[in-house]
């Protein structure tokens, strides 16, 4: 705007403000802070804050704001130019393995669980999983739109894949995921979760699980691909708790990011695999990402007919999950999908019926604007899991083989 501006924020965001103003090239930004929070506080409490002192600087808030707009700039505040960052070393060490492991944990480079140290030998072995050159740029990732994006190469992704415990055959999927630039640790205070779905031939090739326990800790590929995304989001995407990640409670789904494959063999006749619905060919291998907050399981026989299904979904919608943002991913066990397939010959028709049903009078607002239907499970229970997730994007895996 070219106008003198005085930002005012709440004290809890002191570290975030310092980080953002530094990375946006305004390290001397004249911030003023009030006590935290202001949301939900009555006007008289907020007024008292404003009549008092800045809890960070100790100065009277009103005077500080006016000074921010009128005190002449000093030389530092007038500076232009660019600040280059310290050079990034390709290798770290040499140190003992124990010290390297401790360093990684204390620096926030892991998910808190033990990692496999990415030695050159291990990374070289991992790189056999792709024909792409180690120095090739894969993408840019940031914790959320205001933050800076970090750039990364095939080798850097491979290092994180090693840390996650992945094998070379998993690397093309992990590279495709990295190429989306989507972080699994989005910075919002509401604590987002992510979901990752692998579709097409590669899911079978690397033995991903789409049956019994697919969403649980029962399969190597499901586990390491989801985990690699979290590690990449920290190490390649700059997610740092308290600085660029502000999820107030965090989200347990972030450990694995709900990584699974669709049970394509169990799709009812006419129901297309998810990636085909998004315009890819059936023989293409694709990784897709979703964003939301939570999953609710509905087990049992209640979801076996249309009317009961409507009641289940409306009830979940009324629970307020996802803050009524009008999005849903419905994970159907094959038993339920088969039953629904008798009434709806495509996923789209089922989704449209659901949206229309929820639009009826008395419907709880917020649920139904966008529905993604995915079939997964081992036919042990006619259950469904509904997530307040929405689709973000998809990337082809094959170019990364």
């Amino acid at each position: 705007m070219g106008l003198p501006t005085a930002p005012i924020s709440t004290q809890r965001f002191l570290e975030v403000a310092k980080t953002i103003t530094f990375k946006k090239g305004m390290p001397r930004q004249r911030m003023t802070y009030v006590p935290h929070p202001v949301s939900g506080r009555p006007p008289e409490v907020v007024r008292k804050y404003l009549e008092g002192n800045d809890p960070v600087s100790g100065k009277p808030i009103l005077e500080e704001l006016l000074a921010a707009l009128t005190r002449p700039l000093d030389d530092e505040e007038k500076k232009t130019g660019f600040v280059t960052r310290p050079p990034r070393p390709r290798l770290i060490g040499p140190h003992t393995p124990a010290n390297l492991e401790r360093m990684m944990v204390e620096n926030g480079w892991t998910d808190g669980l033990p990692v496999v140290l990415p030695t050159e030998a291990r990374v070289a072995a991992m790189l056999k999983g792709t024909r792409r050159a180690p120095g090739e740029i894969v993408g840019l990732m940031r914790p959320s739109p205001p933050h800076e994006g970090w750039e990364y190469t095939v080798e850097m992704v491979a290092a994180n894949a090693v840390m996650a415990g992945a094998r070379p055959e998993h690397l093309p999927v992990i590279l495709a995921l990295a190429s989306t630039g989507v972080t699994s640790l989005f910075s919002s205070t509401t604590s987002f979760a992510r979901m990752v779905l692998v579709s097409g031939p590669i899911a079978r090739e690397i033995k991903m699980n789409s049956g019994i326990g697919a969403l649980g800790p029962f399969n190597e590929a499901n586990a390491v691909i989801g985990r690699a995304w979290t590690l990449m989001s920290k190490n390649l995407g700059g997610s740092i708790a308290g600085e660029t990640y502000m999820g107030s409670q965090g989200n347990n789904l972030n450990y694995n990011n709900v990584c699974f494959a669709e049970n394509e063999a169990a799709l009812p006749a006419g129901w297309k695999p998810f990636h085909v619905q998004k315009g890819f060919k059936p023989e293409e291998s694709v990784v897709s990402t979703f964003t939301g907050w939570s999953l609710i399981n509905h087990a049992g026989a209640a979801a076996r007919n249309k009317e009961e299904f409507k009641r289940v979904i409306a009830g979940l919608s009324a629970s307020g999950m996802g803050m009524g943002v009008g999005q849903a991913v419905i994970l159907l066990d094959p038993i339920v999908a088969r039953d629904l397939g008798e009434s709806f010959d495509t996923k789209e028709k089922f989704g449209a019926w659901l949206i229309q049903s929820l639009a009826a009078p008395g419907r709880v607002p917020g649920m139904g604007a966008a529905m993604e239907i995915i079939v997964v499970g081992g036919e042990a229970n006619p259950c469904l899991t509904i997530g307040d997730f929405s689709y973000i994007s998809s990337a082809r895996v094959d170019p990364w083989r």
């Binding site: 990375k23 946006k24 232009t80 130019g81 660019f82 280059t84 050079p87 990034r88 070393p89 390709r90 290798l91 770290i92 060490g93 040499p94 140190h95 003992t96 124990a98 010290n99 360093m103 204390e106 120095g135 740029i137 993408g139 840019l140 940031r142 959320s144 739109p145 205001p146 933050h147 800076e148 994006g149 750039e151 190469t153 190429s179 989306t180 630039g181 989507v182 972080t183 989005f186 987002f192 998004k278 315009g279 890819f280 990402t289 964003t291 973000i392 994007s393 998809s394 990337a395 082809r396």
Partner: protein, 190 residues
């Protein structure tokens, strides 16, 4: 197992960091290695207004031509008869550039807005940013939405000190918007 203090570990880490050599980078990625005229620099930018995620796009930027001094002034006057002449110590530079955009992932339906304020800036050789040139660039100007699969060429005007014979041109995809969208790319504005 030997345990060392965090302080001495950090020192040892710093020493090992100093000994390692970063990998070589393509031209145009830093102000110390700006891309010369005619070189295409490839990078990635993120586009879209979706607050949850931006989509990555491959962008190719080429500085096609640099025109300076009298010739630049004549072109500016032809574009706008009311163009303001430069101060005695300054002169105009015109740069003709090309931008190409390609989607990396699906859906790939976003656009990148060319011509945001201070998106393309001239920098002095000693690292100072020049103020925007107070003139209208000749047509075609480099502005408007660029979509995946499209290419756009156009002119941009700069105002630099006359004695600065080696200014740089910086393309900052983040400029003018609320979100950081990609790396800064560097060109030789001479």
């Amino acid at each position: 197992m030997t345990k060392i203090s965090i302080a001495s570990f950090s020192l040892a880490w710093c020493l090992s960091v100093a000994a390692a050599v970063p990998a070589a980078r393509a031209q145009g990625m830093s102000p110390s290695d700006p891309a010369p005229v005619g070189t295409t620099v490839s990078s990635e930018i993120h586009c879209g207004s979706n607050p949850v995620s931006l989509e990555p796009y491959d962008v190719k930027v080429t500085l096609l031509q640099v025109v300076r001094g009298r010739q630049a002034w004549e072109m500016l006057q032809a574009a706008d008869a009311a163009a303001r002449p430069a101060d005695p110590d300054s002169e105009y530079i015109l740069a003709r550039m090309r931008f190409e955009l390609r989607a990396k992932i699906a859906p790939g339906n976003k656009s990148f807005e060319l011509g945001s304020p201070m998106q393309l800036v001239a920098m002095s050789a000693d690292g100072r940013e020049y103020a925007a040139a107070p003139v209208t660039a000749p047509q075609p100007a480099l502005r408007g939405p660029l979509r995946a699969g499209e290419s756009r060429e156009g002119w941009v005007a700069f105002l630099v000190e006359k004695r600065d014979r080696h200014p740089l041109l910086a393309f900052d995809p983040a400029s003018g918007g609320a979100t950081l969208r990609g790396k800064i790319l560097w060109f030789q504005l001479y």
